[in-house]
Structure formats: C-alpha cells, structure tokens
C-alpha cells in the first residue's frame, strides 16, 4: 500500500466521522462541527494527492487554501443563522426547528 493510499484512508475516516455526526447530532452546532470535519478530510486528500503524485503541487495547495477560506465563510454564515434560529425558536434542536414561517 502506497503512502498516498494511507493518506486517502485517513481522509476517508474524517469523511465517515463527519457523515456519522451530521446524521446523529440533534443540534445545529454539532452538525456544524461535523461539516468542519468533512471539509478537513477533503483538504487533506487534495494536498496528499498533489504532493505525492505528478499533479501540480501549487494547484493542490491553493485548492486546499480555497477550501479553508470557504469553510471560514460557511462557519460565519452558519453562526449567524444559529444565532437567528436560537433567538426566534429559543432552541437549536433540529427536531423543533421545522417550520419555515410562524
């Protein structure tokens, strides 16, 4: 088994943990944490593929930087949404936030 495969398996492990968490968690914050896990796995996979094969290493690293930037933007927006939801519903339980409009 080559080094690249090992890195890909670790990234896959992060994806599995994130998918498990996003289904199992019952609050929006927990789901946000799971999404961050998955994005991290994606970044690790991209950098490993770029560094360990013939692919363009600069492109891989910049791609992961973009993923990190998008993760930051996403976390900002989700934070705002969580604040609005908890202000309006009094909770961030996903089972109770089930209406689009009061």
């Amino acid at each position: 088994m080559s080094a690249l495969n090992l890195y890909q398996l670790v990234a896959l492990m992060l994806l599995v943990a994130g998918l498990y968490g996003i289904v199992q968690r019952r609050s929006l914050v927990g789901m946000l944490i799971s999404v961050e896990l998955m994005l991290n796995g994606a970044g690790l996979s991209i950098v490993a593929a770029a560094q360990l094969t013939e692919a363009n290493a600069v492109l891989g690293q910049l791609g992961t930087l973009l993923v990190m930037g998008l993760a930051a933007a996403e976390a900002t927006l989700v934070l705002a949404i969580i604040v609005v939801v908890s202000r309006r519903f009094g909770t961030t339980k996903t089972s109770e936030v089930s209406t689009l409009k009061e």
């Binding site: 670790v10 943990a17 690293q61 976390a75």
Partner: protein, 169 residues
C-alpha cells in the same frame, strides 16, 4: 528516517481518530469542539509530514484560530452547553441510520482505494511560498479574487442576519 515517518504518521492518525470520535460522540458540545481542535492539530501534523509547512500553518491559523472560535461563539450564544441538547441519548434508530450513512460511502470509497491503488512518489518536495504567491496572482487570479468576494459577502451577510433592530424593544 523511513521508520520515523511511519511512526509519526501512525501517531497523527491516532490523534485524528481520537479527536474525530470525541467530536462526533461527545454529549457536551464544548467537548466536541475540543475534539475538533485535536483533529485539526492532527491534520496539521499530516500536512507537515507531506512537506507542506505553509498549509500546516494556515490550518492552525484559519481553522483553530478562526473557525473554532466561531463555533465556540455559536455554542455560547445558544446556551447549548447547559441544557445539553445533545445530553439526552438519541433514539437507537438514529444511531443506526447515522452508522449506515457513514459506512455506506466508506465501503464504496475504500473499496475503490484498495482495488485501484495509486503509486505515489517517494518523497514529497516542498513548494516554496514564492511559487504559491505567484500562482495566486498569476494563474489562479480569478479564484483568489472570488474567494475574497465570497468572504466579504459572508461577513456582511452574517452581520445583516444577526442584526437586532433597536426600536423593537
């Protein structure tokens, strides 16, 4: 050196695994956040092993420094730590569905990875930061500008969403 690299890889993989389990399994959201931070440090170690110290630095700066603080704000602003929305155990069905959702893509993807293994180069070379900067300002200029626009829009959108009008009270 080869053995040392393998030992370091195993240690980082264990750190990532432990952190991920803590992040998705802990009933307290603050502890889950600590698990996420541990995972992020493990991934930063993996970046160091891949000979990309700049990415490891950015991982710590952006993820641990910015994203985790944001998640912590989310935990605190929603009082999710006290009442414990995650404290009561979920119905067993939910755990089963979650396991299924995690394991189904894992089975397919790991089958593909193990069935068609890609050969990898021996030692990854470090890309100088100058090259990365040139890439950002020459070849991938549009993506660089667009990510700034996305960040600006996300920032102003978050402010707009969370804005509390004063005359309401």
């Amino acid at each position: 050196m080869e053995v040392l690299a393998k030992v370091a890889f195993a240690v980082y993989a264990l750190i990532i695994l432990g952190g991920a389990v803590m992040a998705v399994g802990s009933s307290s959201l603050v502890r889950a956040l600590v698990g996420l931070i541990v995972t992020l440090f493990g991934v930063a170690g993996m970046y160091l092993l891949l000979n990309t110290p700049f990415m490891a630095f950015m991982q710590l700066l952006i993820y641990v420094g910015a994203v985790c603080v944001l998640v912590f704000f989310a935990v605190m602003l929603t009082r999710a730590h006290g009442e414990g929305e995650e404290a009561a155990p979920a119905p067993v069905k939910q755990y089963l569905y979650a396991l299924l959702a995690g394991l189904a893509p894992a089975a397919i993807l790991s089958w593909v990875i193990l069935k068609h293994p890609l050969a990898s180069e021996g030692t990854p070379l470090e890309v100088p930061i100058v090259e990365l900067g040139k890439g950002l300002l020459e070849n991938y200029f549009l993506a660089f500008e667009l990510i700034s626009v996305v960040l600006l829009v996300a920032m102003s959108g978050a402010v707009l969403l969370a804005w509390e009008r004063r005359e309401k009270k």
